[in-house]
Symmetry: C2
Subunit: 259 residues, 2 copies
């Protein structure tokens, strides 16, 4: 008897028409039965935002022949929540993949990224989940070198499963870098140093454009930043317990009595 | 010579007119020099979203006498980024406090919460940061029982400092619970079970309202959920390294060669 094909939920944050999600759904079609649910407009930088107090739309569309696809008016995380509840109706998919993002989501970017937050939400829903991102912001970025890796990593996750409450954050170097292989990494310690470009609107009122420089504060050779800089695909096993467990004893020594 | 008063940045996600931020800024005025920067509209559930590709507004307003206040068109995290850059101009405040949120932000809610994400952003900026939340969603929630705790916790943070890359997530029981004291906790393992109320708009098109039930999957007595249920103020030391460090050895044993 033929083995049942896995069902795969494909999401992203760049929106349903982004080339990156097309590559991802094509690769996933080689592995399983695909359902695509993605925002109807770009949602980069939406982090783990959800839509509260506003209604959501979810509409089936025929964008690519033979692919079950839905566009959603909400955030990437909304897409996952709506899919699980209204499309899969509680019968969860075997895999949730997010991306392929136009732009890296390594290091601290995992917090700001809608792509990664959708994958985190998949993991919260107990679905083995992977976020994929490429070091190229361009709309017409070349994803060709990522395909075999995207497939292998998804197959390995389906084969081995993932530890409880763990997902994968996969980042790819740009096409111009020779890929040397895969490295399992930790998230590099870094931050964005923002600058705000100050302008006047046609009514003489001030407004700001946010720009930023990425500041790597980590010389470790076991980080995603180091792996990517050296031509490797980085995989960071990712979790969502924000507790600083190591700080609990210190806080227990504080004196809170003076109230 | 008198000791210099600390400078304190006050932010929230419920918006600049929320009663919770008024309580917070009043308590902080007893401790230091306060600057308030908050969204011009409610931003609950915005998580760590930032505004990319759209301009931001930041306008000084006189809402409460003698308080330096600004309203911002962006997300809670945008408020922190804009404050550091355009108001404090790199001379960082001594403390960043967020809230007091109308509604709890314990357990998994830390991921969805704009209140907590603003505090996380403060910590990323290397500012000692605290998020405060109350178990009452009502606009006219009674915050009176939180004041002495809010002050003591802030004073302790100013006195002791916080471990590197660590902030505090403080949650208060409702006024109707006798507060028994403070407990240092870990984030409880839980998730939201969503339901989507399905309706038709006046044009006969389908839309959804998200509702959810909180599912606690954790019987530990060291969690924030347990502390709150038993009448304690919960403090979870919180960090933002999403790496699942424990999963790195297992992933290193996988076979990625078949590409």
């Amino acid at each position: 008897m033929a083995k049942k094909k896995p069902t795969i939920l494909v999401v992203n944050d760049d929106g349903i028409t982004a080339p990156g999600i097309k590559v991802l759904l094509e690769v996933m079609q080689e592995i399983g039965d695909v359902v695509v649910v993605a925002p109807d407009s770009p949602q980069s930088g939406m982090g783990h935002a959800i839509t509260i107090g506003k209604p959501l739309r979810l509409d089936k569309i025929d964008l690519y022949e033979g692919v079950e696809m839905y566009k959603c008016s909400g955030t990437p995380v909304d897409c996952v929540k709506l899919s699980v509840n209204k499309i899969f109706k509680g019968k969860k998919p075997d895999l949730c993949v997010s991306g392929i993002n136009h732009g890296l989501n390594y290091s601290i970017n995992v917090l700001y990224s809608g792509t990664m937050s959708a994958a985190v939400e998949g993991a919260i829903e107990d679905i083995p989940s992977i976020g994929y991102s490429l070091d190229d912001f361009a709309h017409h970025a070349d994803f060709s070198h990522t395909r075999s890796y995207v497939k292998t990593i998804a197959e390995q996750v389906l084969l081995n499963g993932l530890p409880k409450n763990t997902l994968l954050n996969v980042n790819f170097p740009n096409i111009n870098k020779d890929i040397k292989g895969i490295k399992i990494c930790r998230q590099a310690n870094a931050k964005w140093f923002e600058e705000f470009d100050e302008r006047l609107d046609p009514y003489e009122r001030e407004y700001f454009w946010m720009t930023g420089k990425f500041q790597l504060n980590d010389r470790g050779e076991d980080t995603d930043a180091f792996a990517l800089a050296n031509g490797f695909v980085s995989i960071v096993p990712t979790q969502f317990d924000m507790t600083a467990h190591h700080a609990i004893p210190e806080l227990n020594s504080w004196s809170f009595d003076d109230k």
